[in-house]
Amino acid sequence: MLKKFLILILKGIRYRPIRSWLTILGIVIGIMLVVVILALGDGIQNSIKSTLQMFGSDLIVVFPGKESNPLASLFGGDRFKEKDLTALARIQGVRFVALEDIASMNIEFLGEKKSTLVNGIQWDLAKILMEQSEGIKLESGYWPSDINSSDIIIGNKVAQTLFKKNVHVGDEMIIRGKKMRIAGVLSSIGEQMSDNIILMSINTFRDLTGVRGVAMNADVKLNPDANVNLVAKQIKFELGKQDAVRDFSVLTPAKTERLAGNVLTIIELVLVVIALISLIVGAVGIMNTMYTSVFERTKQIGIMKAIGATNDNILALFLLESGIIGVVGGIIGITFGILMAFLIGLYGERNGIRGLFSFASLDFFGLFVILFLTFVIGVISGLLPARSASKMEPAEALRYE
């Protein structure tokens, strides 16, 4: 009997294809969003973790502004006094303090002009930080040693994609009207900002900006046996005495991971809410379609009852129909969701964000659960209309015009 029911139902769905497909579309969108979130969730977490790994576990970063918005200082213009930052080296447990300043500058290569972030750093200390703490190496070239030279090191994307022509070691680039020589190219880090960076000596940086005696950030490298939290507290205490920057942040690795985790949770929550709303809209769409279907088929319900269909038969017909609409929407939604996640992963790869999506990371059991849920959503959505259909007296239904 179930087979005959299914044939009857499928024929009914195909009789009104546009309405059926529009209803299915509502479920497709909701399921697609849910699948994208699930498929990319692990990838996003891993990407953030690998970004955090660059941070180094023996490093504390000091910068102006709130922890939640480290880039605000770029626009705010707050700078620490150099002497206040270098004084942090006296704290027990601190191996050294590497100063850093950042500004957006116009750069020119072979007549082509671009704008990118330029970091003024201390070559010797930055080399230790990048190679030891952050695991970043040079792909080609060397680390300059002359603090007054015009040598620069460029990020991997600056070398390969920023300009029409690739930039190589030995090439010259003009930054704020000054000729700079490419000493080295960093290997790909997999993070957008870092791969587009330009590094130069902090002295050269100050020559270009005309601002001296200040620095934006400090990377505080710790001794292996240092107590990270204790050092962080002491840094806060010392910097609390200076008045150049009122609001500043002292970011330890653990705090950064926590912050990133919070951001990720909020993003996931928002996406889940959007997906749930979309699913609810889809479910309401099914209910609307089923109610309309009941009204349109009132006479046919009467005919079926007249020839022997029971109330349960009618209920089953409509519930199965709404369930099938849900499942079909689920299958298409899952398919498109995986496809969309794949495309997002591909886009991420091309823009320096690796590992967002992989087929191996798909939770097939989770997808099966989603498919089952779409059937349940369909059935629940169709329940009220199906009940009203099943309760009609045959004569009453047959009289309906």
Binding site: M1, K4, F5, L8, K11, G12, R14, Y15, K299, Q300, G302, I303, M304, K305, A306, I307, G308, A309, T310, N311, D312, N313, E393, P394, A395, E396, L398
Partner: protein, 285 residues
């Protein structure tokens, strides 16, 4: 206003009419029991086979009232209807519009519930059966044919004809199917949907659907109402064949005198009850 009889009504054993309000009734005494009849036709039928009419009719409607209540208006369509349908009879119901003919058919066929009164199937009270039992009876006992054919638009002719089998665990009557598929099969039209068939073809499919479970009674509500005379004649031929050859009990509501002339009896309705009309209430010739 509903009539609550405290005393037993006088019932014509043949047609089931309530004779309590009438005088000058025809009578027959059989086995020391006096029987009253509405007219010579019923009296004559009884006299030919009294044992038949002493038994239980196939369907008996007893003091049926049906009130349609829309909330603001109450309409009494059936007012204390009594009716007997005997197995093997071809009965036609005639009457003006609104007299309760179709409502009576719905009562007999369990498509609707009476507001009060009793319905018996072979002597068994089926008035208060639950919905599932009523559906089962509709599936096995009654076949319906409607004026508007009432086929499912998205199914083919063949699927429409066999639709009762979807809701029934019983097997189709193969002999009946073979006979009527042979007689009525539309050959290459069976894969067409109803919108692609003529009225006559649709009604033949509807008849086939009504017969697929070999019901005891075939109920027809103006089966030729939407057809031209020639097509209607073909449907009539099928009905006659069902009655004469296959001994089907037919209860047909119609204005078509051609059908009425072929019936064993014609009963007349007025104001929700059978009317005593000697001219009409007899076999038309």
């Amino acid at each position: 206003m509903m009539k609550h009889n405290d005393t037993q009504p006088i019932i014509d054993p043949v047609c089931g009419m309530d004779l309590s309000e009438f005088k000058d009734l025809k009578t027959v005494t059989h086995a020391k029991t006096k029987r009253f009849f509405c007219g010579s036709f019923c009296k004559g039928r009884y006299e030919k086979a009294p044992e038949r009419y002493e038994g239980e009719p196939l369907m008996k409607l007893s003091n049926i009232w049906k009130v349609f209540d829309t909330g603001t208006i109450k309409t009494e369509v059936l007012k204390g209807l009594h009716l007997h349908v005997w197995e093997g009879d071809f009965t036609v119901i005639v009457g003006p519009s609104g007299s309760g003919k179709s409502t009576t058919l719905n009562m007999v066929g369990l498509l609707d519930r009476p507001s009060s009164g009793k319905i018996y199937l072979k002597g068994k009270d089926i008035t208060e059966l639950d919905d599932d039992r009523r559906a089962e009876l509709r599936s096995r006992t009654f076949g319906f044919v409607f004026q508007q054919y009432n086929l499912i638009p998205w199914l083919t002719a063949e699927e429409n004809a066999l639709l009762p089998l979807v809701f029934s665990t019983a097997k189709a009557n193969e002999k009946m199917l073979k006979h009527f598929f042979g007689e009525m099969v539309l050959k290459d039209r069976m894969e067409h949907r109803p919108s692609e068939l003529s009225g006559g073809e649709q009604q033949r499919i509807a008849l086939l659907r009504a017969l697929v479970n070999d019901p005891a009674i075939l109920l027809g509500d103006e089966p030729t109402g939407n057809l031209d005379s020639i097509t209607g004649g073909k449907i009539l031929d099928i009905l006659i064949d069902l009655h004469k050859v296959h001994k089907k009990t037919l209860l047909i509501v119609t204005h078509d005198l051609n059908i009425a002339k072929k019936a064993d009896q014609v009963i007349s309705f007025k104001d929700g009850r059978l009317v005593r009309n000697g001219t009409v209430h007899e076999k038309l010739r």
